[in-house]
């Protein structure tokens, strides 16, 4: 990683559906940031919002951090564990910030919505906000290789980490993951991380 990006604040928004484990991802980044000596502030939501509704968490890390919320158009990285949720948080992305959208190729129909858009439609829409919108078939790979999709968030997070989209070293992230995740789930998460490392766009 070059030194220039190290001094810049990192603004991450993670979006998804309540129950997808967003807070675990937040904790991993936060613990890794603390271990590397960065200032860090985050925001999350609890309660009714967690009952299968749209949720998002914010993580900001850098040398001098005050706000726990990313501002409009200020996200460097937006990870979406469900594809339609990426559209909802596109508010935080912008060309100016060079926002990277990492979108899980996973669509969960929304009650009350007439039609679920296709992945292509979603990526095209996101590219209006920022060119760097990428669909990642995390859930498909996990289903095929591990027989479960529960670690989809970890896959996306470490995809970003191995490609230097997060200013923290992948090994600090792995250490933080070990701290945050209960021991009995460690193995499946470590396997997921290896799959994320090997993933070819």
């Amino acid at each position: 990683m070059d030194k220039g990006t190290k001094t810049k604040d990192l603004n991450i928004v993670i979006a998804g559906i309540g129950g997808q484990g967003l807070i675990t991802l937040l904790k991993i980044i936060t613990e890794a940031a603390l271990a590397e000596g960065y200032d860090v502030a985050t925001s999350e939501l609890h309660g009714l919002a967690q009952r299968g509704g749209s949720v998002e968490v914010h993580i900001r890390s850098g040398k001098e951090i005050y706000s726990p919320l990313v501002r409009q158009g200020g996200a460097d990285l937006i990870i979406s564990l469900e594809a339609q949720e990426a559209l909802r948080v596109s508010y935080f992305g912008s060309k100016e910030a060079g926002t990277i959208f990492l979108v899980n190729d996973f669509l969960s129909p929304i009650s009350g919505s007439k039609k679920t858009p296709s992945m292509d439609d979603i990526i095209k829409e996101l590219q209006k906000v920022s060119q760097k919108a990428i669909s990642i078939s995390a859930n498909q790979i996990l289903q095929k290789e591990l027989g479960t999709q529960v670690t989809g968030g970890i896959f996306l997070l470490f995809y970003a980490s191995f490609r230097n989209q997060i200013h923290l070293r992948p090994d600090s992230m792995i250490e933080a993951m070990k701290k945050v995740i209960p021991e009995k789930y460690l193995e499946i998460n470590l396997k997921t991380i290896e799959l994320a490392r090997a993933y070819k766009d």
């Binding site: 936060t30 005050y66 726990p68 990313v70 409009q72």
Partner: protein
């Protein structure tokens, strides 16, 4: 949990605002903690429930916030150090006892944590700004901005309470309570929790004419605490280093808004003097007067109602009559603040250009369509066999005649308002489904079904049901008994047979309460028995007296948790 009890003094750890509050209470030597669960304050109870035994602290989930406060008062009168925690609406519920507590004063130190929820992320009924209670009750009030301050301010609140024998309120908001950031650990203090009640009716029995004398004493205390507020480091004046300094404009802010102000100044690369008010009541008036004296303009950055702004307007009349005061002219009064609101406001005030065109950006993303995903009852996928209310709502919808009025209450079942259910015609507050159902039945011909959860029924439903029986009303009340306080994270309630400390206790059965209240038409029906549910609803809707269905079906998420 190990983290929150860590003995590594001086170590930096990541804490949620609510966790920092717990740590602060432990570092103050708290002895008695009571609460009723409510987001965004729920973690305080959840965590104390797990650590109470180990730390020697007494902890309880009380039936409602009024009882929680009163339990705390009893402990304080017995000399213990007390923390009572609740969400903003809980403050309304307990205010009947809070006001006299401020009059009598406390014996053991007493801190009241209240978490507001601007933008109503986890709250239905209003966007309450609890700072109004500071004036109403004359209760000293501190407002932290971030986790480290959550810890520090709780400790300060205990100190003030101890020194002045007065309850102290610490007010947070969602973005403070659910913000995580590094916090430096101090030492946890363990003390004996054996208290002693020493009789002093002259002090603790609010009987006129003493009540007015007590009020006088209270106002005198507040006056003394104001001197403390004037000198308090919680009211900090800050100036960020930057190339461009403005001397003629100042900013006054509090709570989470302070962080947005500092971030905005950083992004705009401009330096303005900032006064962050941590001591909201009593306000450091002299400090504010001194601060605003030298400015041409001042911007007040605060969430929700403009309490600080009004105070500054009043104070400026003497100290700087020509001062231009900006606040709600630039800062929204509805909904929580967003960082961009503050950047734009400061940019407009100072003329300093923003590097980002917010309007242009908004136009660019305007064309992006998406559907809002409403909270859902748990699916079979999330928690097999799925939320029991799916079947219940379906039975109600299928059976109730057209024009039936559906009363909602506070809990997961508020989801009844959302697609595809649409069975919620009104929603007010804990227990109100029944109270209002009764009023409608007394006034109109429509059939009324009130839906209320088990924990909510214990909280405030029982007096309303008594009233309906007493006054010869006939709504159908369906008590959704899923065996737990589901929405806030499955905390114990009186129907569960376990206390907040995990001890066995008498299980108070709703099916014992209902007949005892004089309800003649009542039946327990399992939610999985669709036909029986439907037939009972149909039958009970024709009754001329109050009827109650106890709809039994365990919270699927809770069952999943127990299986783990």
């Amino acid at each position: 949990m190990d983290d929150i009890l860590s003995k590594e003094v001086g170590k930096k750890m990541i804490f949620l605002g609510n966790e920092a509050i717990i740590r602060g209470a432990l570092e103050s030597g708290v002895q008695f903690v009571s609460t009723y669960p409510g987001t965004p304050a729920s973690e305080v109870g959840n965590i104390f429930s797990q650590i109470a035994k180990e730390t020697g602290v007494y902890f309880e989930f009380s039936t409602n916030e009024k009882v929680a406060l009163e339990a705390g008062i009893g402990a304080s009168l017995s000399g213990l150090k007390v923390l009572v925690a609740m969400k903003h609406f809980g403050l309304n519920v307990c205010s009947d006892s809070l006001l006299p507590l401020c009059y009598t004063g406390t014996k053991g130190p007493f801190v009241l944590l209240v978490a507001d929820d601007p933008s109503c992320w986890s709250s239905a009924q209003s966007e309450q700004n609890s700072r109004a209670f500071s004036y109403l009750a004359h209760i000293p009030t501190l407002e932290p901005s971030e986790p480290q301050e959550c810890k520090d301010f709780i400790k300060l609140a205990f100190d003030i309470s101890e020194k002045f024998n007065i309850p102290v309120m610490v007010r947070t908001t969602t973005r403070v309570a659910h913000q995580s950031a590094p916090v430096i650990l101090g030492e946890i203090i363990k003390t004996e929790k054996e208290g002693k009640f020493i009789k002093d009716p002259d002090r603790f029995s609010t009987m006129p004419p003493r009540t007015l004398r007590m009020k006088k004493e209270l106002l005198e205390k507040v006056k003394k605490i104001k001197e403390l507020s004037e000198k308090s480091e919680t009211n900090l004046i800050q100036e960020r280093e930057s190339r461009e300094k403005k001397r003629e404009i100042g900013i006054i802010t509090s709570g989470i808004s302070h962080l947005y102000v500092m971030e905005a100044l950083k992004e705009l690369d401009i330096s303005l003097p900032v006064l962050r008010i941590g001591f909201f009541y009593p306000l450091p008036e002299e400090k504010i007067k001194n601060f605003i004296k030298k400015f041409k303009k001042v911007l007040i950055v605060e969430e929700l109602e403009p309490y600080l702004e009004k105070e500054v307007e009043r104070l400026a009349k003497n100290s700087n009559p020509g001062l231009q005061i900006f606040g709600k002219s630039h800062i929204p009064e509805i909904g929580e603040l967003k960082p961009e609101n503050v950047i734009v406001a400061i940019s407009e005030m100072t003329g300093k250009k923003i590097n980002f065109d917010f309007d242009k950006h908004l136009k660019e993303i305007q064309g992006i369509n998406f559907t809002r995903r409403y909270p859902q009852l748990c699916s079979a996928e999330i928690a097999p066999p799925g939320c029991p209310y799916w079947l219940l709502f379906s039975a109600i919808k299928k059976t109730a005649p057209e024009n039936t009025v559906f009363g909602g209450d506070i809990g997961c079942y508020m989801i009844a308002a959302n697609p595809p259910h649409f069975i919620q015609d009104y929603l007010f507050s804990m227990g109100a489904s029944i109270g209002i159902a009764h009023g409608i039945k007394k006034s109109a011909k429509e059939k009324v079904i009130a839906l209320i959860g088990d924990s909510t029924f214990f909280h405030a439903g029982i007096p309303a049901l008594i009233n309906a029986v007493f006054n010869k009303s006939n709504p159908l009340i369906i008590i959704l008994n899923n065996g737990t306080t589901a929405m806030t994270g499955h905390q114990p309630h009186p129907g569960m047979g376990k206390t907040g400390m995990g001890e066995e206790t008498t299980r108070i059965k709703i099916e014992d309460i209902i007949p005892a209240l004089g309800v003649k038409n009542w039946r327990v029906v399992e939610t999985k028995n669709f036909q029986e549910m439907s037939a009972t609803i149909k039958d009970f809707l024709e009754k001329e007296e109050v009827s109650v269905i106890i709809a039994k079906g365990m919270c699927a998420l809770f069952a999943k948790k127990l299986r783990k």
